[in-house]
């Protein structure tokens, strides 16, 4: 009888301990880590989507014989740099690697927006259906990147908070001591300043009517 009761007590202890551990936040840290890493994967796939669109865009702009050579080159170079830097989930807590990734993608963002603003001066490109579609896709991708970054920041903020708040901080210091806070996206200086564009419409420019077109101020044009 006594032996049976000891076994009963043991089972009872296990049954009680499991939900109690879960209740005390033992599972919170891995759960939120997974969530943050999934959000990161989404950020990367959206950036990849943008990188995949760029060769098409460059080809279309070049095909229209646009004399924006430096802007195009900047986009191509920035894309090459951005795609060469990848951050794996394991290195998300490394500030240097994250900073590099963000800087490279930020440079690509600003190079792209400079290109898109400067080609607004070419009506032959605005009439190109392929270009118009690409532009819509790029805008959508930029929007998705912004949302993916925001979702990632939210997931990471929740994760970082559990690493520092009671009761999950107990697990963070003991069983999950390998869990490090992850890095957050912050608004870059490129994002805060609108791209400045100088229209190099020199004598070599064939589109004579181009300089009179002010971007975005002709609602009846469509």
């Amino acid at each position: 009888m006594v032996r049976l009761n000891a076994r009963q007590a043991g089972i009872a202890a296990v049954v009680v301990m499991l939900p109690a551990m879960a209740g005390c936040g033992y599972n919170t840290i891995p759960t939120q880590q997974e969530r943050a890493e999934a959000a990161w994967a989404d950020v990367q796939s959206q950036y990849q989507r943008r990188a995949d669109l760029i060769p098409n865009l460059v080809a279309t702009v070049q095909g229209a014989a646009i004399a924006e050579r430096t802007t195009l080159t900047q986009v191509i170079e920035a894309r090459a740099r951005a795609t060469s830097i990848q951050v794996s989930p394991d290195t998300l807590s490394d500030p240097a690697a994250f900073e590099q990734f963000q800087a490279a993608q930020g440079q690509l963002t600003s190079a792209l927006s400079r290109l898109l603003v400067s080609v607004e001066a070419y009506p032959q490109l605005q009439a190109n259906q392929n270009f118009v579609q690409l532009q819509a896709q790029l805008e959508g991708t930029e929007n998705r990147i912004a949302i993916a970054r925001r979702d990632y920041n939210e997931a990471v903020r929740a994760y970082n908070t559990t690493l520092r708040t009671f009761p999950s901080v107990i697990w963070a210091k003991t069983a999950h001591s390998g869990s490090q806070p992850m890095q957050l996206f912050n608004a870059t200086t490129e994002a805060q300043t609108a791209p400045s564009v100088t229209f190099n419409l020199g004598p070599a420019q064939p589109g004579g009517a181009a300089p009179t077109v002010t971007p975005g101020s002709a609602p009846t044009a469509q």
């Binding site: 009963q8 007590a9 009872a12 579609q133 819509a136 896709q137 959508g140 929007n143």
Partner: protein
């Protein structure tokens, strides 16, 4: 002096706290209009008759393909960009089925002169950004520039519905995917088994204790087990009610979102 001023101070402190709460809420909380139906005409751009007709067609679309398209007109975007407002609104309402995120929002903000087609994750391959942009540029903006909001909205939503029905095989597969999803049991069976086991042990313990006539033993072991069982039950009912909350799809007659999510697909335009 402190005694005299204490209630006043406390009141002032409470008022300050309240003021801080009120000051901080507009920044933190974004309010959305109520999801009153498939057409939420907050800005009053649609005639009642065409609103009803549009609602019927939107309901037919969902019956056919499982996709939820909701038309929204807004008085104000509350100083948000329409892209920013749109995906939050879609997530807040949970438009689209939770199984495949098949929701679309057509948002018109006449005061900001902005329009957006917000596409849920699952429909991004069908309603591409380029298609959404094309619909806005060719079907909607020309009418909006003439102030013909109703015809623009109807033309735009008809184009979206046509695109969603374009491939009947694919559309049927989408509808089947939603229909085939079995209603998840509200009661977690894993936890149920554990609860049953614990109750079994309690019962065995009680029977053995009473047959042996040992009052002391019953008094010592059972409460632990009863407590464990209660704890398990508590956990089970809590998780049960939570999962049923996400499955429950609103009241009987009204329309509500299926729990779909948005990630910024679609396109916007302005006039």
């Amino acid at each position: 002096m402190i005694q005299l001023g204490a209630p006043a101070l406390r009141q002032a402190f409470a008022a300050l706290l309240l003021a801080i709460c009120f000051l901080s809420t507009p920044v933190a909380a974004q309010t959305f209009p109520e999801l009153s139906g498939r057409v939420v005409d907050q800005a009053g751009l649609l005639e009642p008759a065409s609103e009803a007709a549009l609602t019927d067609r939107l309901a037919a679309l969902e019956a056919e393909t499982g996709d939820q398209l909701v038309v929204v007109t807004l008085d104000t975007l509350q100083d948000y960009e329409i892209e920013d407002y749109g995906y939050r609104l879609g997530r807040a309402w949970g438009i689209g089925q939770s199984e495949n995120n098949s929701g679309v929002l057509l948002i018109v903000a006449p005061n900001e002169r902005k329009v957006r087609i917000e596409v849920g994750y699952g429909l991004e391959p069908i309603l591409t950004d380029a298609f959404a942009s094309h619909v806005i540029q060719t079907q909607m903006l020309p009418a909006f520039r003439d102030g013909e909001f109703q015809s623009g909205i109807v033309a735009g939503s008809d184009s979206i519905m046509a695109q969603l029905r374009l491939d009947p095989v694919e559309a049927a597969a989408r509808a089947a995917e939603v229909a085939a999803q079995p209603a998840r049991p509200d009661f977690p069976f894993g936890a149920g088994i554990i609860v049953a086991l614990v109750f079994g042990f309690v019962l065995i313990g009680l029977i053995r204790a009473s047959s042996a006539g040992g009052k002391r033993r019953r008094g010592r072991v059972s409460p632990v087990l009863v407590w464990a069982a209660a704890d398990m039950l508590n956990h089970a009912t809590r998780s049960g009610s939570r999962s049923s909350g996400s499955i429950f799809r609103g009241g009987g007659s009204g329309f509500s979102g299926g729990g779909g999510s948005f990630g910024g697909g679609g396109a916007s335009g302005g006039w």
